[in-house]
């Protein structure tokens, strides 16, 4: 009997972000919101690969119609084998927020890029604010 060392490289990670949906506070899926409303960003994360990933950086960023970051949140999660989870981030549209199309980007990184982390997946959606 012998043990075999397996070197894990980034290419071995298969992390999938499911479709990103926006909903109101009651969980009703919609893409049109008013200023002052809360937008829930819902998506799933799946570890479809053969290796666990610890402290994955899962980030949600919302860019306002001018492409300015309006919201950035993150969580550091362990993603074991066969991990599948739905995550929800909440964002309250400011009363003075701009009207127009807001872009939502959900991203998963191995770590912060400033620390050498690399992106594993990105999903994008949008909602309209009036």
């Amino acid at each position: 009997m012998y043990f075999q060392m397996v070197e894990v490289t980034f290419t071995d990670y298969v992390i999938n972000i499911g479709p990103v949906l926006t909903s109101d506070q009651d969980g009703i899926i919609k893409t049109d919101f008013n200023r002052g409303e809360i937008v829930q960003i819902e998506f799933t994360i799946e570890n479809a690969g053969n290796f666990s990933l610890t402290n994955a950086l899962i980030s949600t960023m919302i860019l306002d119609p001018s492409n300015t970051t309006a919201f950035l949140s993150y969580t550091l999660e362990n993603l074991p084998l066969e991990f599948f989870e739905e995550l929800v981030f909440g964002y309250r549209i400011p009363l003075v927020g701009s009207a127009g199309i807001y872009t939502v980007k959900v991203m998963v990184f191995t770590d912060w890029p400033s620390k050498g982390g690399i992106g594993l997946d990105i999903e994008t959606t949008a909602f309209d604010v009036t």
Binding site: L63, T68, L72, T75, E85, F89, F109, P113, I122
Partner: protein, 866 residues
């Protein structure tokens, strides 16, 4: 399958707001870090943004061989000046390896330095990382960084007393040009300089980042030249200097020190830096024009020689880590060179080396004609392309082709350790890249190749893209070389000695060697050779080894590429006083041996021996008497001093006989000249110096050749003029004073008159007779003798007399009467130069006879001179 629902705590929320001040010190707009496989670049279109502006980030991902990498994953993170992450993105490279993303800054974005981090990933490659910087500012000026520059940016240290510029980078966050004063505190806080710009109202700073070179500009921003250089208040050549060594922690720049500009942040207008200041050794170079004893190759013209030396010196001063007051590079004359192919070139190296050794200067450089190297290096196919050589075992000499200004720095660089074994241009196609700043020319050198690469002809520009400069690594190596004393090998010296033997020899391909005449000099500087498989051995009469010095002999020139079939060696070692035999051994084989005879030559300089006046440019025959009790044949080296023996400049070596014709054409005027003749019997050396100083001068001869008077009768208290014609009969342009005399009393002196040689000028000397009594005066003019002017008999010229009399006495008969009115009447209305004009009638001396003159006559009418 697990299923989880989570609303993230507010703790993780990052909100972008507020403003701040920065103290960033990393201005690079882009940089590149390579992995072993991928090269990632990243940059913004600008280095400076206002709040609310769109920031576009773009870059490329390539294989290390330059091939584009498609579908690479690029992860981006942007941190603001508070180190808060506010933007993340994942993007992918297109078919050409490029990627891009963008975001808009918040309208209330923090002011200061922002950092963009990027990582690149592609299966099969190592990840690559990269970062870049930009700045956010608004209605604010702030100092991004300051850099004292002497040659290159970010040198390890400043050099004491070397000319220095301070580069300041200032961000202007206003939407329009601002005129800003800048204050620099330097030299260990002992000096303060206020830069008020080209017109005294401040430095013009355009929106964005501005690079300002203080003092006197130029100013540049990212896209254009804001303002060219100007003359600072302290003068055109004013630069900063650090006058002490140590660590200066208080180098400070303050912008808008009087707070004339209202800013959103007044706290970021000052920045203080730190630099170590060191001293370095001096560099003294003497240049010789090589001229063959037979016309087998050409000789550079004096103009070409002088231009090469002057421009070469300028470039050395600009690029070497040596303070200007520690550098001396002077043309001293002609070296008559050997006409024997190959061997003659080595002998020229040896002559230059002994010149440097005897003259105690660091390097002797021979300037040669275009056909010198092809003549000597028949076996080298591209010899006609060579522009210079330095020798691995004759290290105080170099040969440079006339017109190749940067080759001087190149070859001297070799002798100080740069690219000893392989030429820079053989390692890299162009040579090492370089950049920096030419302080005295106020010239930014953004893109250059090292002077250890190839040299351009009569230029400091390699081509339209690259200048010539010193590469950072070469500068640091030279800094180390000039900061430390010369390393040497140990020599098992048995008898300490105050004398140094200057050893010279030739080595042939078949392994044989010959000594050239050596010189034993009291107090001579010891410069040990590089150790090698040869040994110089001194033995006494008992055969005892007194000292042994290993040395190397190489048939390769520095750079390692060009080989010669004959080579030489030259160095100096302490001389054991009881030596009777000098040997060269190669491993266990005796190669060469020379017996040392008992007596040193005796010598006496006969001429010039003190008190002489030599005309520069004319040949001077130096003569001496010499003898040797051993009957050894003698050879001589002749040197001169212009400073009473403080320094010596050899002008000829290996001279036979008892005289030498010395060409004095390059000598400066001076009265402290001495001649020194050194005789050697091959080892023992005797020498003598002129008993007293003598003078050398070009011909200086000014003469007053004519004096004319505007009138011969002048009314007391009125003026006239004296015109003196001065001729410069000498060889030099002169600056002189001219005095006019009435009898022996000085009338007036004109100062600082400049006149080129061969020219003449007419000078007008006004005479106001107010303080002169009535009577006759003899008028003369004298040009005051200039230094070294010998013929002063023609410096005076006397021209007749002038009568000072009653105002209105136009005819000078002692009475103002009708006859004077008659003279004035006949000339009335005339102007100087017209036929009717009478200078005596023009009493008021305004070149016009008019009513004013009549009034003077009328006012004094009837007066009689007692």
């Amino acid at each position: 399958m697990r299923h989880r629902f989570k609303v993230l705590p507010i703790l993780y929320l990052i909100i972008i707001a507020s403003s701040m001040q920065i103290s960033g010190t990393m201005p690079s707009l882009s940089s590149q870090v390579t992995s072993s496989e991928m090269l990632l670049t990243i940059q913004m279109e600008r280095a400076y943004y206002l709040p609310g502006e769109l920031v576009k980030i773009f870059g490329n991902l390539t294989h290390s061989n330059g091939t584009a990498i498609q579908d690479g994953t690029i992860s981006i993170e942007v941190k603001d000046s508070n180190n808060y992450t506010f933007f993340l993105d994942i993007t992918y490279t297109s078919s050409d390896g490029s990627f891009k993303t963008s975001f808009r800054l918040s309208s209330i974005a923090y002011v200061g330095q922002y950092i963009v981090y990027a990582t690149a990933h592609k299966t099969g490659y190592e990840n690559a990382t990269e970062s870049a910087i930009f700045y956010v500012t608004t209605d604010d000026l702030f100092v991004v960084r300051l850099d004292p520059i002497q040659v290159i940016l970010n040198a390890d240290a400043l050099i004491m007393n070397k000319k220095t510029t301070v580069r300041v980078i200032v961000a202007n966050g206003f939407s329009e040009r601002k005129w800003v004063d800048i204050q620099i505190i330097y030299d260990f806080a002992s000096e303060t300089y206020d830069e008020n710009g080209p017109t005294g109202i401040g430095i013009p700073l355009d929106p964005g980042l501005n690079r300002i070179y203080v003092p006197g500009g130029p100013i540049l921003n990212a896209t254009h030249l804001v303002e060219p250089q100007w003359i600072p208040p302290e003068g055109q050549y004013f630069v900063f200097r650090w006058t002490n060594t140590g660590t200066d922690n208080n180098i400070t720049v303050i912008i808008d020190p009087d707070n004339n500009i209202a800013e959103t942040d007044e706290t970021n207008n000052e920045k203080t830096g730190s630099r170590e200041v060191r001293n370095t050794n001096s560099l003294t170079i003497r240049y010789y024009k090589l001229r063959p004893l037979l016309p087998v190759y050409g000789t550079p013209s004096w103009n070409n020689f002088s231009e090469t030396v002057n421009e070469g010196n300028s470039f050395i001063n600009a690029t070497y880590p040596v303070a200007g007051n520690e550098f001396s590079g002077v043309s001293v004359g002609t070296l008559w060179s050997s006409p024997i192919p190959g061997l003659g070139m080595i002998d020229d190296f040896l002559s230059l080396h002994i010149y440097a050794a005897i003259g105690q200067f660091d390097r002797a450089v021979g300037i040669v004609s275009d056909d010198y190297f092809p003549f000597h290096l028949l076996h080298v196919p591209d010899a006609s392309n060579k522009t210079g050589f330095s020798h691995t075992s004759i290290t105080q000499a170099a040969l440079v082709r006339a017109g190749y200004w940067t080759t001087i720095t190149h070859e001297i660089g070799h002798t100080y350790g740069l690219n000893r074994d392989a030429e820079d241009y053989d390692i890299n196609p162009l040579g090492s890249f370089a950049s920096g700043y030419w302080v005295t020319r106020k010239k930014e050198i953004p893109k250059a190749i090292s002077f250890m690469g190839e040299s351009p002809f009569r230029s400091f520009e390699y081509n339209s893209t690259y200048s010539m400069w010193v590469a950072n690594s070469h500068y640091e190596s030279l800094f180390d070389a000039f900061a430390s004393s010369t390393a040497h090998s140990t020599s098992n010296l048995v008898e300490p000695s105050a004398s140094a033997l200057f050893v010279r020899g030739i080595a042939f391909e078949n392994g044989t060697m010959e000594f050239r005449d050596m010189y034993l000099l009291d107090g001579g500087a010891v410069k040990y050779p590089e150790p090698g498989e040869w040994s110089l051995v001194f033995r006494n009469s008992s055969g005892q080894v007194l000292s042994e010095t290993p040395f190397n002999v190489s048939f390769a020139m520095f750079g390692g590429k060009t080989l010669s079939n004959v080579t030489g060696f030259a160095f100096s070692v302490p001389y054991p006083t009881s030596s009777t035999t000098i040997q060269v051994w190669r491993n266990s084989t005796l190669i060469l041996e020379k017996q040392v005879t008992s007596y040193a030559p005796s010598i006496e300089v006969l001429s010039p021996n003190g008190g002489e006046f030599l005309m520069a440019g004319l040949n001077c025959t130096v003569t001496w008497n010499a003898s040797d009790l051993d009957g050894d044949p003698l050879a001589y080296t002749i040197a001169y001093s212009y400073d009473s023996g403080e320094s010596w400049i050899p002008v000829a070596t290996d001279v036979e006989g008892n005289s030498y014709v010395w060409n004095t054409s390059l000598l400066e005027d001076g009265s402290n000249y001495l001649v020194r003749v050194i005789a050697t019997d091959g080892v023992n050396t005797g020498e003598d110096v002129s008993d007293n100083v003598f003078t050398v001068s070009k011909i200086h001869d000014l003469a007053v050749t004519d004096v004319t008077l505007s009138k011969v009768v002048v009314g007391q208290n009125y003026s006239m003029s004296i015109k003196a014609t001065v001729q410069n009969n000498g060889e030099c342009s002169e600056n002189f004073n001219v005095t006019a005399y009435a009898n022996t009393t000085t009338i007036t002196t004109l100062t600082n008159v400049t006149l080129a040689n061969g020219n003449s000028t007419i000078l007008t000397l006004p005479w106001n007779t107010t303080s002169f009594g009535k009577g006759n005066y003899t008028i003369s003019a004298q040009v005051i003798p200039v230094p070294y002017e010998r013929n002063i008999e023609d410096n005076n010229f006397t021209d007749g007399t002038v009568l000072v009399t009653i105002a209105g006495d136009a005819n000078g008969d002692g009475v103002v009467d009708i006859f004077d009115l008659n003279i004035a009447g006949k000339a009335y209305g005339s102007f100087a130069g017209e036929p009717r004009y009478s200078p005596e009638a023009d009493i008021t001396n305004d070149d016009h006879v008019d009513m004013r003159d009549i009034v003077v006559i009328a006012r004094n009418y009837g007066k009689i001179e007692p």
